[in-house]
């Protein structure tokens, strides 16, 4: 059975005018978000996106945009408590 998470939340955006269809995003995406259509990459399954930022970093043409972050509740709570950006701070053994 497939794991599914909340719908319509991902901040992923594609600037298709910059996309050259190199296919790097299809290569690095761990959740099959993109498909190649008419020589350009298209966000096909946005709800699969976990905002890891792999596609954004590895796009040589800066066509993609996302607000990257960790999908980790205890990291977010810690961020709230300490007033810092939530980071997956595994060094105290709370996540990952």
């Amino acid at each position: 059975m497939r794991n599914r998470y909340l719908k319509n939340v991902s901040t992923l955006k594609m600037g298709s005018e910059k996309c050259t269809g190199c296919g790097k995003c299809l290569e690095v995406c761990p959740h099959n978000v993109f498909v190649m259509t008419n020589g350009k990459s298209v966000i096909a399954q946005k709800d699969n996106c976990i905002e890891c930022g792999a596609c954004v970093k590895n796009c040589p043409f800066n066509a993609l945009e996302v607000k990257p972050g960790v999908g980790c509740a205890s990291a977010i709570i810690k961020g709230w408590l300490t007033g810092t950006e939530p980071s997956c701070d595994c060094s105290d053994g709370s996540c990952c």
């Binding site: 991902s10 761990p30 509740a73 709570i77």
Partner: protein
């Protein structure tokens, strides 16, 4: 003129694709949270088999479990493993933090003098390192081309046999019931400290005459922990709904109903309605909170999604637990 271009010595450590009993015991221990934050290998270059100048180079994190799961798939290969310094954190988490990253790779290539060890200019990275690595910048500054391998080390043989091509199946992260199960011990271990504090408080309340808190409270609480930390993660995709907190709450509610039914509700109640309601408010919320924390261990949650779920879940959990505690305390005074 002074010649300072003296060659530094190139160090390559021998390793093997065989995992020893100690390696397996070590993995088992870190799964239970023992020595988990200090399970490291020395960064540097390692050889497996008898590699030469044309042998492939795999890049790994210096979390020992990452390194072990790679090398155990390389039996029969002649290859190099370049272990980069991720502070003992696994590939995915280190990539998220940026320690499995562009700069570290470029630096490690220079430190290990990889350009003198191999004649080709390809690096095979685990795909899950991609959130931390700008492939085209590694190429620009080191001359090495980044090739993203499969997500799972066990697909490496097929990946290499296919001429360093990953199928879309190899590119996808999965999260099977077994994958989820192995992550649950550490979730349980993390609850030990807060649990001991809660038991301490209940014990003090018993001492000063508010209570008594006893066996039912104990197994009710323990059950809610197991529901939140183990049962919900393992049954995740089969539980209706999408938010983790909701899934945990739902199973927790079933558990709270079972606890009350064990104690005779509704026909021959062993305790008052206040206490029964108290359990219904507290136990599912506890499971919900613990299940919500499993978002960090899961492979398919996003920051925006977790934030959205927390904005509803956290206030609901707090209100529910506070109300439940009030009911149970009031019950103790009657």
């Amino acid at each position: 003129m002074l010649d300072i271009s003296m060659g530094r010595e190139i160090t390559i450590n021998q390793t093997s694709s065989e995992l020893t009993f100690r390696d397996i015991l070590g993995s088992w221990k870190v799964r239970w949270g023992i020595n988990r934050m200090n399970y490291k290998v020395e960064p540097g270059l390692y050889r497996i088999g008898n590699p030469d100048k044309s042998s492939p180079v795999f890049v790994s994190a210096n979390y020992k479990m990452s390194f072990d799961s790679l090398r155990k798939e390389l039996s029969g290969f002649d290859a190099y493993i370049m272990v980069i310094d991720t502070k003992g954190i696994n590939v995915w988490c280190a990539a998220g933090k940026g320690t499995f990253g562009t700069t570290e790779i470029i630096n490690r290539i220079a430190i290990t003098q990889l350009d003198k060890v191999v004649s080709h200019r390809n690096l095979i990275l685990p795909q899950l390192g991609a959130p931390g690595v700008i492939g085209h910048e590694v190429l620009k500054y080191s001359g090495f081309r980044v090739i993203y391998g499969p997500v799972r080390a066990k697909d490496i043989r097929d990946f290499m046999n296919a001429g360093m091509k990953a199928t879309s199946e190899m590119r996808r992260v999965k999260f099977s019931a077994y994958d989820r199960l192995v992550l649950t011990p550490v979730e349980l271990v993390n609850t030990i400290r807060p649990s001991l504090m809660i038991f301490g408080v209940l014990f003090l309340l018993n001492l000063i005459g508010i209570g008594p808190f006893g066996f039912v409270d104990f197994y009710g609480y323990l059950g809610a922990l197991i529901v939140g930390c183990v049962l919900t993660p393992v049954l995740l995709p089969w539980i209706p709904g999408r938010a983790f907190a909701w899934k945990g709450w739902l199973l927790g509610l079933i558990w709270a109903l079972i606890v009350n039914m064990f104690n005779g509700w509704p026909y021959a109640p062993q305790y008052s309605l206040l206490k029964a309601l108290g359990y219904l408010l507290i136990l599912p919320s506890l499971s919900a909170y613990l299940a919500m924390n499993f978002t960090g261990a899961s492979t398919f949650t996003s920051f925006s999604g977790v934030l959205k779920e927390m904005k509803t879940a956290i206030p609901a959990i707090i209100i529910s637990i506070v109300l439940g505690v009030i009911l149970i305390l009031v019950n103790s005074f009657i």
